[in-house]
Structures are given as structure tokens and as C-alpha cells.
Symmetry: C2
Subunit: 154 residues, 2 copies
DNA sequence: TTTTTTGCAAAACCTTTGCAGTTGG
DNA sequence: CCAACTGCAAAGGTTTTGCAAAAAA
């Protein structure tokens, strides 16, 4: 599958906390790197590299797209960031944390982050039927969200 | 999510059957289109457009990549073909049929097609926990297959 | 100073599109 | 005959890479 290997997830609750974690690992804290972290904290949910480079539509300073990608990769390696693939669009990045598994609605595009523990029964059902150990952190569960499913039914 | 809308899935069991289905819909049967169908029947599992254009590494005549994409789109619209996204690679195409949901191993890349009925308990668990109506036909369940999970454990 | 990181430009990769010519029905 | 389809070439969107200049430690 060739998915970039992410470090063991680290939960940070502020930009300064993330910065400390970076320094602990011997990684430097440049303006561009700090900006990526600020964007991830400022964003409401998973965001694309492009939107980060845009400074979240100008709310933050813009930065170079290739540096954003490189920093996201570094941060992911450090365990501070994860990315998910949603539909046919670009990958979306978010801070690693407790809510690191995702449901996506293919109708309205909503991305619902859920506690992995809540998915345990689902994993159990998959394990029982196929022996497959499912991870939903990188490729989410796609389908219709509660709202859209209700609309369809009604 | 903007996923190309596929027609109601049609199960065909031979190239000639597929050709008949195409004619029924007023679609033409060109050499290039027939070749795409032949590749899908000849392939052991889901294949990329690129591999089809290659003639499955030369086993079949090569064809133009853009025509392959256009034909796959047409065939998908006719309900004869489906595509899945596996990992970071290109989309993979397969004949529509009863086994149209997929498990993917992120370690060894194996794609396991399963009967949707077998996934019903899984869908039930998801529905119960989140109200989300999961479809695994377009984005598969990613994780470790039985073999790789066993290796990891042992 | 030394190594990491940046910004820019260019390329790579997958997919789509425009268009003039060919072909299937 | 005429609409559908082809092949080629070019572009589109996302991500990666090379490299010299800048900045962090």
C-alpha cells in the first residue's frame, strides 16, 4: 500500500506543546513549520495541504505548498499529525489525537471523527468474519451519514 | 464526495454477454471497448487503467490510455464496471458483480473481494453505533489481512 | 558553523479534455 | 450518413523532488 509511516501518535493540545514535542525529537521549529501547526489548530477539522498553504483562506500568513507538504510529512513522522483520504479529493491532514478514525458521508462530505473505542464492535465483526484487522485511521468508512441516510429513507 | 455515478450494477459472465448488454443500451462496441472488457475478464482481480492500456503487460493488444479511461467511465455508467481506491495508488477497476465490496491489506496489498452479505453484520454494527450507512464498494476496508495480522501477532 | 529547512521551479503521477479523423450501426 | 468513438496531445489537480539560498541550533 505504500503509505507513509506515521510515528506513534502523540496528543498535543497547543502549538507550544507541539513545538516542545518537536524539540524533544531534535526537529527544528521554523516559521513555516509553526504555521502548519497553527493552521491545524485553527482548522475546524481535517484540512488539505493547499488550504494550509493558503493560510486558511487568508486568516493566517500564506506559505509555500511544497514546504507545507514537507512539514506535514515531518510532523506525521513525529506522530503529531495524521492524514486521511476522503473521496477523490486531496488528502486531508489533522492533528493526531484520540479521535483519529473517521466516517465520511459520500453525499454531504461531512467527516465525522470518532473515538477508536467506539469502532471496536465494528472491528470485532470484521475480525470474526474475515480475520482482517481493520484500521480506519487512514482510509475512513465511507457511506451515508445519519442525516443523509434518513433523507434517503424518508 | 463527487464520485462518478455508476449505473445499477449488472452482472455479466462473458465478453459476449457484456457486448450484448452494451448494445441493449445503444452503446457501440468498438475494438478498444471490447479490449477493455477482455482485460477485465482476463485480469485476476481489480486492475488499473494503466495496466489495461498496457494490455496486461502485453498479453493483450495495447490501447490508448485516455480511451481506456473513457471506456471505463462508460462501462461504469452502464453498470458493468466498478472502481475502488486502494491506498495511494491509481484507482482499480473490476467487473461489477456480486462480490463488489473489498478488504485491502495495507501490508501486503492483497485485495479481497467479499460478498456484500458477509459485510452485513459489520454494517449493522456501524449503523447501531453511528447511524451511518456504510458502503465498502468504492472505498474498501483497509487494515491487516488475516495472514499479515497473524505474522504481527506471532 | 553545521545541518536543517526554505522557496522556487520543475517534474512526476493519475486523470480529464479538446479536437480532428475514423468507425460502428 | 451521422453520431459515437478513437488516438494524440495537451492540460488539470495533487504530490514530490532538485537545488541554491536562508535560517535554526
Amino acid at each position: 500500500m505504500t503509505v507513509a509511516k506515521a510515528g506513534t501518535p502523540i496528543r498535543v493540545t497547543s502549538v507550544e506543546g507541539a513545538v516542545a514535542a518537536l524539540r524533544e525529537r531534535g526537529l527544528r521549529v521554523s516559521a513555516a513549520r509553526r504555521l502548519v501547526l497553527e493552521s491545524l489548530f485553527a482548522a475546524e477539522g481535517p484540512v488539505s495541504a493547499d488550504r494550509i498553504a493558503d493560510g486558511l483562506e487568508g486568516r493566517l500568513p500564506r506559505s509555500d505548498l511544497s514546504s507545507v507538504y514537507r512539514n506535514l510529512e515531518t510532523l506525521e513522522g513525529a506522530g503529531l499529525v495524521r492524514h486521511v483520504h476522503v473521496g477523490h479529493g486531496p488528502g486531508l491532514y489533522a492533528l493526531a489525537g484520540p479521535a483519529q478514525e473517521f466516517l465520511v458521508c459520500e453525499r454531504c462530505d461531512v467527516v465525522i471523527a470518532v473515538d477508536p473505542a467506539a469502532l471496536e464492535p465494528v472491528r470485532d465483526a470484521i475480525r470474526a468474519a474475515f480475520g482482517h484487522e481493520a484500521r480506519f485511521s487512514h482510509f475512513p468508512i465511507v457511506g451515508l451519514c445519519r442525516r443523509c441516510a434518513a433523507q434517503t429513507a424518508g
